[in-house]
Symmetry: C2
Amino acid sequence: MSLSHALLTSLLEKSSSGYDLARRFDKSIGFFWHATHQQIYRELARMEKAGWIASSAAPDGGKTRKRIYNVLGAGRQELERWAREAAPLADMRDELMVRLRADAVIGPLGLEDEIERRQALHADKLKAYRLIEARDFPAGAALSREAQIQHMILKTGIMLEESWVNWSAEALNVLKSPGPSAA
Amino acid sequence: MSLSHALLTSLLEKSSSGYDLARRFDKSIGFFWHATHQQIYRELARMEKAGWIASSAAPDGGKTRKRIYNVLGAGRQELERWAREAAPLADMRDELMVRLRADAVIGPLGLEDEIERRQALHADKLKAYRLIEARDFPAGAALSREAQIQHMILKTGIMLEESWVNWSAEALNVLKSPGPSAA
DNA sequence: TGCTCCATGTAACACGTTACATGATTGC
DNA sequence: GCAATCATGTAACGTGTTACATGGAGCA
């Protein structure tokens, strides 16, 4: 598992409440790891029990129930231990590939609309990532090691979204062409 | 869920036992959807109960416990219904990105070895896919619609593995360069 | 005889998703 | 006063993973 380690990383970047983490997971961190607020609360409770993190009431004079979590030494050590571990390659697990295979077996299902819809979604993401890149990583700027790594992660997202936009165009070509047997 | 639909697709291609499906899922189908044998047996039992598939003893005179599943009309209809559904984009969920982010926050962890290991794994997969492509989809051959789609799925795998091989090289560059602050 | 592979399964647990619940604060 | 958002949580369920169990078939 590594939701806990994603949370530790996020908390090291900035101590936060569960709610804040959930919102951040819908943005930058969530590019490559999504989680619902229920998962996050459950995991925070576990990690506090395990002594990896500690919580304190938010400095708002008890106005809200908000609790801020921060990483303890044991949590930092656990993150370091885990980060050095070898991990198996993630498999892609893409439903669309199953749908395409089904289309091949049981005949044309009209997946073109779905692929166009996905192409648009990927194009939107790509655009959003490029805007973030232009804003946070201007060309020619000298970057710290940390910023270089963050830039690389963002570029990973850009690479994948570009791939899928191009892939969609190719897929549409195949689906729209009649093929030799149907000529 | 779509393990059931992946299984239906696979069974439509060829009626099989759970064991055979598990082995096939370690190969071509498993490029984009992995499943353990326990998952597969559980799911086959459910689908039989739901009337999507039916099983019969393998034609081996009762020598083995092997049972062959084949898809019923209701299963085919369910697959068709599902294949036309809209699906949300899968998020990438890559542990290595979490590790890189952790490296950025708590300092160099020596992830180079891990990235080189992954680069080799991706290169192996890429090579395997290209061999399959050369064998099953020779250049210039006229392909049926079905074969075109299967080829496209294989090319998807090739595209992604190529991306990750190249990505690894870039990532190694970033991790190995000292950065302006450490000069 | 003992080893490996075939073939199926139970059980327990970990992780992820969805629905629902609660109450306070902020802004109109 | 009302709605939206903040903030946390319980419960139930679905899916995925890991460990273990069972017994036959094929082969040296």
